[in-house]
Point group: C2
Chain length 728, copies 2
């Protein structure tokens, strides 16, 4: 029993997911289409689905009486049945073979036979319980699938059969999910979107306008709730989803699937044009929040999730069908996964015809919040090269219950890899032995805490004291965002993360001939009157190679760095003193070196850490990090250069550029204007002037080692060759 | 100066290496050719080399007076010059463009001008010093390159120019490396091969038969030394190289390059047919010692080295030219790297023409030693799928100074990854900040020690007490090797690794319907009379998911596991007690689960470790492991099942088969015959009978839980469905 259930789950999940390749490991993204990858990819998906279903359809569908919660046998069986019936319906549409329609019809009749008898689920969740599943969210997902199946095969059924399926299954379920659960259906939240989309699709499938209207406008059809309202609220005007890309992905599917049905059935709605094309923006927004094929793992996120997920495969196909944007074909080539829809077939055909063009990756500020005024996710990309240097500044709002306490935290990517990383969620999705596959206790206690991020921690306490209710009330104040050739920058600050300290961060990605490629300038400041301790952690990815200071890890023992706020999960590996207030740390990842050179206050310590203390159950990944640790009065500033360099090539046996080019970095202030000066080992200087306000015409001057540096506007790059000329 | 030198090094290394792609990270190997990868790969390599050389040739070659040791400026400059001149010569041959010949001619004249004045190198190594370089090995490599250049462009030079280059550079250098250094030239060792190949190629280039004869037959032309003798001795009859694949790769280049010249100039030698085609066998042997594109990292090995290395690119092209074996084209497709030779061009053309066929990966025993009687490297592959389950049993001899103390150690690969891994060498190749790029002190003190391997340690002491001189005198005694459908197995033992304990290991890869795929049975035994402690470490790769026993890592502290023989580098993370003498540990890697279920003696402890104690300089990688630890009298046995299972798919959000199917494993003995019984959770049993001797007709019986199991031959698999029928 168990074994056949497992096989079944695998079979249908795979079919639903298309021709998933053997490994979903982070792939090197390319922005051009490789001709070998997807030639007839759709046909392969189709054939594989047929082969699997032909085996599965040899026996009638197993329809167990609901009993188990998520992950259990009855739950997983009904879930797999829903995906299977979706595929069966699509196969009938695509092939016209009667056997698919017959199987699906019989299965739905079988469900119609039993569904009315099912009262609330025995393992029901307190909030929003289901009947087939423990929560009605799963019921919505099931109905979303089978309403499409019904629509596909309805023509093959007798009048009596239709009557039975529509009454006892589809309407029964749709009523349960709409009038039966108004608190979900009318909620402006992704669970509401799943419900409205499922009910709306049911309306189209059985030809009941009433369901469609309720779905679009809410139960009372006032427009105060329902799908259109959700479209207005759940994404920011730039297409950012408040909880971040991991949940964005999840929410996207009912939006695009139902919208597509609205477009077909009610084209006068122009649903894809609403709110300046918000659903298209949401699809592009999700693609832009990825690197190396994986989504930025901000907030609670399973790090393996990326552009190959079923939800985004559907969305890309639907949006390509609408727009014909051949840049999306490059994304589809990278997905190399197809679904059983005409739109996915078209994507496959156009890929095979060589129509793909590079996707237009670019630097952007994606405003957060319904009106785009709750902070922003700032993405700085050195170029359109998807494997190039990328910095993500998390200047967003909290992101509700799944949000992490990492105001102005940064992530850095290069050469296809994470360089400064976010831990993501502490969770082993669906792995029962690991806390039932749920979020681990360490998710709240470590992964959400500020110290788990590349973000400033004051007094060893997390932002908003780790209280999500307070966090949800405050977003950072954004400074200016610039996106010019060779100079991209952003800044933000927040005064509410701590009572007595206003923290600000300015990051810029610059190009200058003194360096072999783009580098990042990172200025982190704490503005305060009193005395505070400041920790600025950098969770680097790679092997430590070199430091400019003497560094000795304790050879014989390890102990936790602290006792609370996430610090208890970090082993203290070493503590060291920077040299002349300069800290330089170099690590190696794959074939490149990365140096982080910081100007730090007097008496700063550099503390090296490894995750894994207080982790008796091996819940956490043993990742390394280091933090700049200072205790100061009257505020603090850490000015750092993050510098990819060199080439480690063990295949051809050469190593070049293994040393940082940075000799020193200095931070100067004059009033509210600031200046970062980089001195290279070759004797060159590069400067970045930072204006106090977001005013392109504001003029600023800062005394830099006795010379007055002046400029106009919030960001001004003084190149190594123009530096002297720019001096007064 | 430094900067241009670095650029130069990069340019020429890249040119020599062909169209190296951005990342050499372990690639998923495929055994079929992907049409997009290498279409006109050679042409791209050619164009890239031309573009780079056109820039570089704008100025005359820099020829500094020898001063620096390896890694230093003058060393790296001459090294880069040699590779560059090789490319320039090949480009002339391939394009006929005069500019290449002119540049190379002038460069060689410039070298001829200064070389005679150079006495022994100021930083000369004590043994085998050079003049241009600190050791004459590098001088041989330089001459190997430029003798080919001279051969290519000779026709364009005047009589006077030839005279000068031949006398002052080529002969001067060849004499220095032959009669001037008989201890290297006549040595049967890879340094000798580099010398004889370089001198022999010089002989062909300038038309001096004497050099060729000395190269082939040794200085006295007796055949007691020289290239032919090296061919007879340095590889085993199966093409195994005593030091392992890392140095095999290095030694292979002069063999195939010079042999190719012999084939062209002295075809009557039939050099590629000698010793049953030993140079072809050596090339295939190296390919077979790879997984996921990387060589098995046994002994001192940089783990990133693999099939893309320049040496193997040359060898594959040369052997393909000789044999036309289209299976080699699949290897070339995976290399996706070309060199500037007609043979490499042919490979590229045939790849583009779609001629590639899958490479024939298979299970094999590669005998070690000149006569193949010094142990063997046993490779068990579940199938020809290069990403399938593979077990490597290191039943070889010591492997000289670079050998590790891991008799009968194993490595396991699956799904493209290392599953049970070898640390390889403790070294950051060419990274100056890491001990000058040399082998780290931790290489001898940790990486070579037995505990760093998946090999049995007795009394916390390494094999041969860590003494390489003793190790070199002893090889394991091989038991039988079987390679049948669904049953592959090998065994070996050694009585000299420890004074009082004879250790043996039998491993088998079996397929049975009770499991979702092939599994490994691993029986490790220590035969002894007295009382000893036994540690059997498993260096697993992945995240710990589950154990069948209670496991609690110490939350608040870490201390080293021991004080010597490598133990001092392991943090003790946890210690636990198996349940009913069964230990089961499950970990997750990428998308699969791996369980190791062991039958262990009473009072065995399971000790979990992490590398990194006593490592103040961050020299080691923090890899996890666990060991079965028993103290017994009268010997020990650990019988384990290594079982890949399940599918973790975070993209499609399902997990199946996350639990091991193994309920228990038991080990029975009757006299010298043994029986391993596996009981599954589904109630099935699978058995493996092991005969005592290597006799296909020997009959054996073992009492297994009161039933007599009988069979003939050294390995007998009792399938889950035939088990009862086979009982008496």
């Amino acid at each position: 029993m168990i074994r056949s259930f497992l096989l079944m789950t695998a079979a249908f999940s795979l079919a639903a997911c298309g021709q998933q390749t053997a490994s979903d490991a982070p792939s090197q993204m390319t922005n051009t289409y490789k001709s070998s990858q997807s030639v007839s990819g759709f046909d392969k998906t189709l054939k594989m689905a047929q082969a699997k279903l032909d085996v599965a359809m040899a026996a009638p569908l197993t329809i167990p009486v609901p009993k188990d919660p998520g992950g259990g046998y009855t739950h997983e069986t009904h879930k797999a049945n829903g995906f299977m019936l979706y595929d069966v319906g699509q196969l009938y549409k695509l092939t016209g073979e009667k056997k698919y329609a017959e199987f699906a019809g019989q299965a739905m009749l079988d469900y119609a036979e039993v569904y009315p008898q099912w009262d609330l689920h025995p393992a029901k969740k307190e909030q929003s319980p289901g009947r087939m599943f423990w929560q009605n969210l799963n019921e919505s997902m099931f109905l979303l699938n089978i309403s499409q199946t019904y629509s596909a095969i309805k023509e093959t059924l007798s009048e009596d059969e239709r009557e039975k399926i529509e009454t006892d299954l589809l309407r029964n379920m749709a009523d349960f999910l709409s009038v039966g659960a108004p608190e979900t259906f009318n909620k402006v939240h992704n669970h509401g979107t799943w419900a409205t989309a499922a009910v709306g699709l049911t309306g189209y499938a059985i030809g009941d306008e009433d369901y469609v209207e309720q779905a679009l406008m809410g139960l009372d059809k006032s427009g105060e709730a329902g799908f259109l309202k959700q479209m207005d609220v759940l994404f920011s005007p730039d297409g950012y989803y408040n909880e971040g890309p991991y949940y964005h992905r999840f929410a996207l599917k009912p939006f695009v699937i139902f919208a597509q049905a609205v477009e077909k059935n009610n084209p006068e709605q122009k649903i894809f044009e609403k709110r300046d094309g918000i659903l298209k923006k949401a699809t592009y927004g999700l693609i832009h929040q990825a690197y190396g094929g994986l989504f930025f793992p901000i907030n609670d996120a399973i790090k393996e999730k990326g552009i190959r997920t079923d939800e985004l495969v559907h969305a890309v196909a639907i949006v390509y069908d609408l727009t014909g944007d051949t840049g999306l074909l490059s994304i589809a080539a990278e997905q190399d996964t197809f679904v059983l829809t005409p739109e996915s077939r078209k994507v496959s055909q156009d890929l095979a015809a060589g129509k793909a063009t590079p996707f237009d990756y670019k630097s952007m500020r994606m405003g957060d919040g319904q009106n785009g005024d709750q902070g922003a996710l700032d993405i700085l990309r050195a170029s359109a090269d998807p494997n190039g240097l990328v910095l993500v500044a998390k200047n967003t709002s909290q992101g509700l219950g799944h949000g992490h306490f990492d105001k102005m935290g940064i992530l850095v990517y290069d050469a296809g890899h994470e360089i400064l990383r976010d831990y993501g969620a502490a969770r082993f999705l669906n792995i029962e032995a690991k806390y039932g596959g749920h979020y681990l206790p360490e998710n709240n206690k470590y992964a959400k805490q500020t110290v788990a991020h590349n973000a400033l921690v004051v007094d060893e306490t997390s932002h908003f004291n780790g209280d999500v209710r307070i966090g949800n009330q405050h977003a950072p104040t954004l400074g200016r965002f610039v996106n010019e050739d060779g100079l991209k920058g952003t800044s933000a600050e927040i005064s509410t993360a701590y009572d007595d300290v206003r923290i600000g961060r300015t990051v810029a990605m610059i190009e200058d001939a003194a360096f072999s490629g783009p580098i990042i300038i990172d200025l982190v400041e704490g503005h305060a009157d009193g005395t505070h301790s400041y920790d600025l952690p950098f969770h680097y990815n790679g092997h430590l190679i070199d430091t400019n200071f003497e560094l000795q890890a304790d050879p014989l023992s390890r102990s936790p760095l602290g006792t609370k706020n996430g610090y208890q999960y970090l082993w203290k590996v070493a503590e060291a003193d920077p040299v002349n207030e300069i800290s330089q740390v170099t690590w190696l990842l794959d074939q490149k070196f990365y140096s982080l050179t910081s100007s730090v206050p007097e008496n700063t310590k550099i503390v090296f850490t490894q995750i894994g203390a207080n982790d008796p159950n091996f819940s956490l990944k043993p990742e390394p990090g280091f933090m700049l640790r200072a205790k100061t009065t009257g505020g603090v500033s850490f000015a750092s250069i993050i510098e990819p360099h060199g080439d480690y090539n063990p295949t051809a046996e050469y190593t070049i550029g293994s040393y940082s080019q940075v000799k020193s970095v200095s931070h100067f202030e004059s009033g509210a204007a600031e200046f970062i000066l980089i001195e290279t080992k070759a004797g060159e200087t590069v400067g970045l002037g930072l204006g106090a306000e977001d005013n392109p015409d504001g003029t600023h001057s800062v005394d830099v080692n006795g010379k007055t540096m002046s400029w106009t506007g919030p960001f001004k790059l003084f190149h190594s060759d123009t530096h002297l000329a720019a001096q007064k």
